[in-house]
Amino acid sequence: MAYLFFGYFAGIIAISSMLVVALRNPVYSALSLLVMFFHVAGLYITLHAEFLAAVQLIVYAGAILVLYLFVVMILNVKEDDRYHSQWRIAAFICVPLLIESIVLLSGGSRATTSGNRLLQTEPHGMVVPDNTLAIGQTLFSTYLFPFEVASLVLLVAMIGAIVIAKRDIGGSET
């Protein structure tokens, strides 16, 4: 049953994330990204990480992707304009990636089996009754410093964005 769900979610994630790149209409791309976020949240739920699933939906699907859609609609991108001849750069990036993945898939059979065993033993070993509590406790004890640093970086980025946007407004007014 668990494998069935995993197969479904993984398959849809793979297909929809390919559609994000492949579809010509940018609004459709954003929508398939939405479908992908949904199924990633589904994967989290199969791993008993409900808190992560909800946060995934609230942050990515609820806020970030809405802003993407917003921009895509305002820009009103012509469908053909986006496709310059970028295939050389694309090939330059994709061929190494392809080789890498082939190497990983062929040579990493041992790694995948060990990963499987890890996935099976974890539910038996430590069943966390409330994963929200667990995440909160590790975030604010073990990973307190990275957490604070990350929030500081975000704050700096936010202030930077406001400064840049405000400078434009002030410049046009004076």
């Binding site: 929508l31 808190f51 939906l57 609230i58 609820g62 806020a63 809405v66 859609l69």
Partner: protein, 358 residues
Amino acid sequence: MTEFGLRLAISLTQIAAVMGIVVITVLILTLAERKVLGWMQDRMGPMEVGPYGILQPFADAIKLFFKEDIIPAGANKFLFTTAPILCLIPAFIGFAVIPWGPNQTFEVGGITVRPFIISDINIGILYILAFASLGAYGIILGGWASNSKYSLLGGLRSAAQIISYELNVGLSIVGILILAGSLSLVKITDAQAGGFWHWYLFALPAPQIFAFVIYVISAVAETNRVPFDLPEAESELVAGFFTEYSGLRFAFFFLAEYANMVLVSCVAAALFLGGWNAPYPGTILALLGAPSLAWIENTMWFAVKTYSLLFLFFWLRATLPRLRYDQLMRFGWKVLLPIALGNIVVTSIAVFIYQQMK
């Protein structure tokens, strides 16, 4: 497998019952809104259909069913048809985690059934927030797919508005979560039992009065109601994002808006006003010697709280004029957000001191 089938049947019955109640509530609301607005403006409201206009919602429903369904010429047909559904599903799906009555159980064929709770997931309130945020997609896509400037402007306004005010909804709830120590709506409601002084609106270490005010204001904004109905501002944008919609698709948007109103009222009742708990300890029916019937009293209290909040929506609509768009944004970000953040800080300190004193 039969046990699985039985569980499925029970869950489906519960879902059908809740859906039925919500749809009936929406029907009542459409009539109640026009009646209440009428009374507040010294009019009668609808009087023609049925005695005292009671059958007006059915007349409206029949009219919408039989209206011609028009898809504008330049519209994106696929998105134009999916947008109303995308709007409707998130509005209904949130009801799954609302506790409608006391946490009692009975057995059917060896399976314990909790009749008033469809599901008690440990992230209940986040689940509602997650799906509420998806309601924006229906509005934005409906506005974009209509290929009309009014619709597009309405859709974009609603996107900005929903994102801004969703933040305030989320932050105003955090105080409650600190007090309750849980995200499950069932546990939050259970923790407020025993009189109205235990409700989180008044509960002692840190009364959440400010949070409640912020929640109600943001909930009005998130459901696109007056005085925050800029996405469908009639005087500027014809009807906003659903300008081009007609017939059944229009009815879907309409249903979604009212279902959202019911949902945010239910959540407010469950979080701030004690949910199904009566404002006095215990229940009167239990005192009179019928504790098995106490659930009637409890569910009635939940209904009373929800309907009072819904009345507030109508009241606001009859009282206040619409805000301008920049006023709306400034109010959300510069007034409500600092108050919500301050409330979190005060609540955390109060809870910490309270725990130290114990």
